[in-house]
Point group: C2
Chain length 201, copies 2
DNA sequence: CTCCTGATGTCAGATACTGACATGGAGGTA
DNA sequence: TACCTCCATGTCAGTATCTGACATCAGGAG
């Protein structure tokens, strides 16, 4: 009982339906929203995607990981953003700008729905939140590395990366929560400004 | 085969050996160091503590949690520290001072050994690190609440708490890693200073 | 003495995850 | 065509984590 009833003709008939990973991700999100995260088993997800449990675990290290396919790409965008920041930019500004740019992709309608649903899941289940936090830690480590390539020395790079992630977390949260009074970039800039004034006090 | 061979006389004979929780924590740390985290099962831990697997899960929500008994106390100390900070202190200074004071307790010899061993475990296993991160997030939330009680308004409180945790993370890491060139408090102050200068740049 | 409380044990089960091996179209090569 | 290798997926058995339900039984309260 495949959900994505795809039609084939004999010639293009592949051995398996394409995009197993994508199907698993889609099935997972749908079931998580319908039945909740705990109530849906990996077997449920695999079945809905027309696959077996074993195959799920070939694509994802564990049940939570199916919700984090975008994290690798985000990390890459952040690193690129830091590396391509203007020469004179301070470490903190470089990181914040990178987050601001990377986050802009989330603002179209189709993504927005997914982002909100995903955010609700993360907030609801500590299990998932843990994974989110370690992804952010990985992001912070990558940002640190990118800053060091720019010549920022060790304690400052680490601090700037951590501070940047904090700004991102708060900016993102407020953007998702509030009724689109401001754009994502504005929230990031507001949080960054608040941090700067606070640290100078 | 109880490890802590306690002697009883008939009069003080209690139905069970005391401090089941403590015995479980001790057994867990010992086994984690000997066999590694993954190689030791909850059943192993319980057996070494003279208890059953089921009892382990009555004291700890899951296998990782046995390593985090101190987190609740730490959180309390941080909150107390923030609440008892001098009236004029800036939010960030209040948080940093609270961490500095709370961390001082780790500096005696007996704790130090445990702290280092535990740190090695956290660094080695992503599974445990995830738990560590969510504890720090909880700490950050508690600190935010404490700051708001001091009249700090919402965006600043959150930011100060997050920044404070970042300072703590980095200060702690350097203190644990480096060969006691500086005291814990000095590491915290150094990280705090670095953050301030960085945010002002 | 009796009853109740509470820490622990026992047992069965669900679910997450892993290793080993089997299967069978696709696509290449002779 | 015949054959062969590749590799995504399936099958199966097993282990470890975690949970619910119920049993046990010393100690304390009355």
């Amino acid at each position: 009982m495949s959900v994505t009833a795809i039609m084939y003709d004999a010639k293009s008939m592949a051995r398996w339906e394409p995009d197993a990973r994508g199907r698993l991700e889609k099935a997972a999100m749908e079931l998580f929203q319908q039945r909740g995260y705990v109530a849906t088993t990996v077997e449920d997800i695999a079945a809905r995607a027309g696959l077996t449990e074993r195959t799920f675990f070939r694509y994802f290290a564990d049940k939570r990981e199916v919700l984090f396919s975008g994290s690798k790409e985000l990390e890459k965008n952040i690193v690129d953003g830091i590396e391509s920041a203007p020469k004179g930019a301070s470490p903190l500004d470089a990181v914040a700008a990178a987050f601001e740019a990377a986050g802009a992709e989330l603002e179209d309608r189709r993504e927005l729905h997914f982002v909100r649903a995903r955010y609700a899941l993360v907030m609801k289940h500590a299990e998932i939140q843990e994974r989110e936090l370690i992804k952010l830690a990985s992001l912070s480590a990558a940002a640190t590395k990118a800053l060091r390539k720019r010549g920022v020395s060790e304690p400052a790079a680490r601090l700037a990366a951590e501070a940047g992630v904090a700004v991102f977390k708060i900016g993102f949260e407020r953007w998702v929560t509030e009724r689109k009074s401001k754009t994502f970039a504005q929230h990031i800039r507001a949080a960054l400004h608040a941090l700067k004034t606070m640290a100078s006090a």
